[in-house]
């Protein structure tokens, strides 16, 4: 089963160009920092064409005391462009090395990977997103997570204005005892900068920052 998982990851990494759709414009760079009560993540990617992006992904899982460094490939499998809205189906996959200091795994490192899909729909007033992810570091840590996000824009700004979104993110991690987290958040978006600041139902902060070049 694990062998099949790695085959899927490798297949995804090396065959993604054929099936991919635009991620960013060709030649565009994106930097993302994501922090919540469970994880810190930095992802830098480059879109060589409008069909995919490839980049470096560094993550730290707090509870598991686990570092994960990987090459991540994002594919836009399908985009629906409508006059007043846009919807996207992404495949996000990564393959790299996991390292942990926790308990019996002290100092252990090994190959690890993840894969998942993400679907979003938005117009200028509403935003809906669902995504999931399966992560496997064989003997160290395996997990499945999924989340849904709903957003509403209190006003419609023009290009270059400050755009504001009020959102709520519901996250489910079946492996955890307390497996549901609800995070209301504010998204602020101006020019090439996107900030998200939230506070979940356990009193922990979420902070995300994205910049496009």
């Amino acid at each position: 089963m694990r062998f099949l998982f790695y085959i899927i990851i490798i297949f995804t990494l090396f065959n993604s160009v054929s099936y991919a759709r635009p991620i960013s414009y060709a030649g565009g760079w994106t930097t993302m920092f994501m922090n919540d009560d469970n994880r810190n993540k930095m992802h830098v990617h480059f879109s060589p064409t409008h069909k995919m992006s490839i980049g470096l992904n560094i993550e730290y899982f707090h509870d598991e005391e686990l570092f994960f460094n990987s090459i991540q490939v994002n594919n836009l499998l399908k985009r629906w462009n409508k006059k007043k809205s846009q919807a996207n189906l992404y495949l996000k996959s990564g393959f790299g090395i996991a390292y942990t200091d926790k308990n019996k795994f002290d100092g252990k490192s090994q190959a690890a990977g993840f894969t998942g899909i993400s679907f979003d729909w938005e117009n200028r007033s509403y935003f809906v997103k669902y995504e999931n992810r399966y992560f496997e570091a064989e003997k160290i840590y395996n997990s499945f997570s999924q989340s849904a996000t709903f957003g509403i824009a209190p006003y419609e700004g023009s290009y270059g204005d400050l755009h504001t979104w009020l959102m709520i993110k519901v996250e489910n991690k079946p492996e955890k005892e307390d497996n549901l987290t609800v995070t209301p958040l504010v998204r602020l978006f101006k020019n090439v900068h996107l900030f998200e600041l939230g506070l979940n139902d356990r009193g922990k902060f979420l902070f995300n920052y994205v910049k496009r070049y």
């Binding site: 414009y25 030649g27 409008h50 200028r124 419609e156 755009h163």
Partner: protein, 101 residues
């Protein structure tokens, strides 16, 4: 006296028309109706790709109308095929192209 004022006004009016006409001839406008244009990142993608083109003098993006206005240099040409190609490369689709000389 009134006729002189009227004549001067008419001359100035024609002169101003000529100035505007010359300004408009400095570039050609192309209005492109684009599908999927819902956020600033979408607008930036289109803007950055078009601004790399030698023929493009400037570009305006109207998110509300889903409209991209391309100002093309007077001595340059950018055909509909090229415009459609650039919009598609940005990740969006063209609904219609309207040229203003």
């Amino acid at each position: 006296m009134k006729k002189i004022y009227l004549f001067i006004t008419l001359v100035l009016f024609c002169f101003s028309l000529n100035i505007n006409a010359n300004e408009k001839n400095d570039f050609k406008e192309v209005h492109v109706s684009v599908n999927g244009l819902v956020c600033d990142f979408c607008a930036q993608s289109i803007e950055k790709l078009f601004k790399k083109e030698e023929a493009v003098q400037d570009i305006d993006v109207d998110l509300k109308m889903g409209m991209v206005t391309i100002h093309i240099k007077s001595d340059a040409i950018m055909d509909d095929v090229k415009i459609t190609e650039l919009i598609t490369q940005s990740g969006y689709s063209v609904e219609g192209i309207h040229r203003v000389q």
